[in-house]
Structures are given as structure tokens and as C-alpha cells.
Amino acid sequence: MDLSIEIEGIHFKNPIVTASGPLGFGDELFKYVSPGIIGGFTSKTVTPEPITGNMPPRLVYIQNGLLNSIGLQNPGVDLFIQKTVPFLSKACVRIISVGGENPEDFADVTRKVEKFADMIEVNLSCPNVGGKVIVSDSQLTKEILSGCKAMTKKPLIAKLSLDLDVVRQSQIISDSGIKIVNIGNSIQGARFNFKTGKPFLKHVKGGLSGPAFMPIALWKVYQVKEAFEDLMVIGLGGVTKAEDVMEYAIAGASIVEIGTQTMIDPKSIQKIIEDLKNMLEALKLDFKAIVNVSHRGGFR
């Protein structure tokens, strides 16, 4: 059966895309995984200037998940273009994640990287930097998206926060003329050390990823697709197997991203793609046919 899907004129050979963050800039990942087998690769977020990232500890192990506080560590856009861009493979869709603090930052990075990308993901929702989450400010969000649109004709993806109302965020995105939403960034969480009475992470909160939060992300995908049928949705969070990809597609996701699982076991992404193909063969359905099927009454 056919796993391919087209999003805003961009052809994905299958719906499996790596999530921004856990896999860095791909240099280590592609030692284990051929870019030719995945639908797309999303870079770690790139900002105008280098960011050192947060002091350790940056990770807290939790049952069925991971709490991270990396802090958007990246080399800055100029070094990214110099050192990383030459190695971005065209064997899969190249999505570059852009970040910053204000509309000028986002526009600047978008302008510099857009010719090396097939799509630009606008990170409006990193949980691990200071200040407010950008997407909580509708005016700022609109200005950022407008600024990025002015810099490229490539499709933009708006990465939302699961800590805020996703329907309200999607309305802002839709009003800005953006057609693709990524749902979404890791959800904020905290753990405390009962021996010291202190939080494990220096910034108290971190971003929760892994299977522990998959039901929450699935619900958000469903909510957005129910409210905005025309928005294309990228779903992610806690995918460890092909069945999870099916669930995201059924809930409304046209693309399903995998981050933490690929980081733990890079080769598992190939098995997930093969298993997904086998599951669709058994159903005698193309991938496109199952996207959003929950809003159409399920399989009949």
C-alpha cells in the first residue's frame, strides 16, 4: 500500500518524520539510519546567536517518559549553515526549525536558512527557555509568522504548545495564513527530590516526552482537526511503534514525528515504517485513507 502523503506541495515518501530536538542536527542519527528510509528530518531549533544551553542536570528519568531541560543549545545560524547545512540529506524532506525571542530573530534565521530547507518549522513553544511561551501572546505570534512568511515561499509549520489551549493557538495560526500545525512541543513538567527537598532541574520545569504523554497529545491532535478541518496536522509524542503512528493518523495527523524513541534506539524507526506498511497492507488501505478517519466515523 502507499505510505506517501503530500503536504502543501511537499511530497513525503512516508509519514514518518524525526522530531526537532532529541536527534540534534542529524550528524549522529544518520550513522545509524539512512535518510532515504524516512519521510523527513527536522533539525534542532536554530537561533540567531549560539546558545550554550542549560546547566546539568538536563535530564530526569521518569517512568515511561523523560523530562528534559536542554535549553535550545545550538551553534547559532551562521555556524549551522557553515557546518551542518552541507550535510543535510535531500533523500528526505528537510525541515529546519527556527527560533528566537522576537519577530526580527525569527525572520533573520528564516531568511538565512530557507534556501537549504524544504519546509520551515517555527518554534513558538520551547518549554525550556526563560520568559513566556511565545505562542501565549497572539500579537507576537502573528508578527513572527508574518515576518517568516515575508522571508520565504517555502511552507511554514507552526509548532504549538501543549500547555496552552491548542484550539485557540490554531485559530491564531489559521488567521495568519499558515496551513500546517505541529502538535506540539513537549509538555511542561517537574519532579522533586524527596531527599533534598529541591527540584531535580535547576529551572524546576522541563519538557516531558515519551509514552507517558501520548494520550494527551492524541487528544490535542483530535481537538484541532475537529475545529480546523483544513489545517494539516503533524502529531507527535510518545510514539514507540507502528500502532502509535496509526493512532495519530486516525486522530487527524497527516505526518507523525518520532523523537525520543529514535534517540533511544535509532534503528527502531525503520521497523516502525515496515510495520506500518504491513498494517496498512492488512487493512488494504493507503496511509492517506486513515488520516482523520476518527472524524469520519472510523473504519467502515
Binding site: 545509524y32 546539568p56 535530564l59 528519568y61
Partner: protein, 220 residues
């Protein structure tokens, strides 16, 4: 099939697995069972001999509930340590594991081991000609008495900080431990601040020259 050896009071576990591959001192593996934990945990090699790989694990942690299942290992990860001439080895607690492996492969001139209790001393293999201490005397106090200037240490943060502070003339190498998720240099979880910027325990280490590490940032 793996084997478990448990210390007298149950505080420590030696996990032994058949393994036909290679591993060098300084390297580590990640360990998990089929049912968990979700993030495989990194452990330094305690011993690799005759096709058997051993890890020293502190009991009571999150890993213990999975140790009675079939264990899945991945690795080896990290950069091997080269032989260090006339080395003083210093270990603290279960940080003894990679020091023990180093000593088996390369030998050593002197070794100081600090442990929180006798149980661990009685449990692990300790070479004859080394000194061991329990609190409140520390390996840092004893290291000041050694004429050796090349030191390899693995142990608690305060031990590494103390050695750097009290033995500024020595060349100090530390096998550093930090939480990590990928062991491959992707997740950027196991950060260490060096004079060349942020490096990672899994990809750039785990052994670092301590004079090049900002311990205040890394172990604040």
C-alpha cells in the same frame, strides 16, 4: 543468560552477561530489559573477561526491578582511555567499576578506593596493593601523600572537585558520569562545560582532563 550476584546486605549488584564483543577501559554500555526502563541506563564496564561482561550496580535504584528479566545491552559507547604512565587510580563508591576495569587491562602504580561502607569493599574484587578508606577519611586526603602526579578518578562530584582544588600540580583525568538518554551524542543531555565550550560525556568523554573542565558549571 545473565547472572546476578548480590552483596551481603543487598546494597549492590554485580550483573554478569555473556558478551563476545570488545570493550576498552573508559567505555560503557546501556542496559534495559524488554519491559523497561523506557530510557536505557548507562553503566561503565566493571570487567570483561573470558566472554563475560560485568557491571556494578547500586541496588535500590530504578534499574533493579528489571534485573531479573532478560537484559538487553547496547554499546560499547564512549571513547576508550589510553594507558596512563605511573598512574594513581582513585575511585569513590560504585565509581570503582571503570577504575577496576582500567586496572585489569592496564595495571596501575597505586590505587586509593573510598567507599561509604564495608559492604562494598567485601563485595568487589580489590587488588592487594592498594589503599582503601571509609568516611570520614577521604581518598582526597590520602592522594596528597602520594608522589604520583598522574591521576585517574571516578567518583562523586565532590571528590573530583576536591582533587582539583587540593592537587593543582597533578595531571588529573576524570571518568565523568551524567544522565544521558541516547549515549550517541544526539540528545545533548550529558553536558560538560570545557574550555572549548559544551561537550558531552557520551560522545566526547567519558574521560576528561579535569584542568579543561569547568566543574562549577558542570557540577554546580
Amino acid at each position: 543468560m545473565e547472572m546476578l550476584k548480590i552483596s551481603e546486605k543487598g546494597s549492590y549488584v554485580l550483573l554478569e552477561l555473556p558478551y563476545n564483543g570488545k570493550a576498552m577501559p573508559g567505555q560503557f554500555f546501556t542496559i534495559k530489559a524488554k519491559t523497561g526502563p523506557y530510557i536505557p541506563r548507562p553503566f561503565s564496564v566493571y570487567e570483561l573477561k573470558d566472554g563475560n561482561l560485568k557491571f556494578l550496580i547500586k541496588a535500590g535504584g530504578e534499574m533493579q526491578q528489571f534485573l531479573n528479566e532478560d537484559i538487553i545491552i547496547d554499546g560499547p559507547f564512549g571513547n576508550p582511555i589510553s594507558k596512563i604512565d605511573d598512574v594513581l587510580l582513585i575511585a569513590g563508591g560504585v565509581g570503582y567499576a571503570p577504575i577496576h576495569f582500567y586496572a585489569l587491562v592496564y595495571g596501575f602504580k597505586e590505587m586509593i578506593i573510598g567507599m561509604p561502607d564495608d559492604e562494598l569493599f567485601d563485595f568487589v574484587d580489590i587488588p592487594d596493593h592498594c589503599v582503601y578508606v571509609v568516611n570520614p577519611t577521604t581518598p582526597v586526603d590520602l592522594a596528597k601523600l602520594s608522589p604520583l602526579k598522574n591521576i585517574l578518578v571516578c567518583g562523586p562530584h565532590e571528590m573530583i572537585k576536591g582533587l582539583k582544588r587540593d592537587l593543582p600540580e597533578s595531571t588529573l583525568y576524570a571518568i565523568m558520569e551524567e544522565k544521558m538518554a541516547c549515549a550517541r551524542g544526539m540528545c545533548e543531555g550529558c553536558a560538560v562545560m570545557t574550555r572549548d565550550g559544551v561537550k558531552f560525556v557520551c560522545k566526547d568523554g567519558p574521560t576528561f582532563k579535569v584542568s579543561e573542565v569547568d566543574l562549577e558549571w558542570t557540577y554546580q
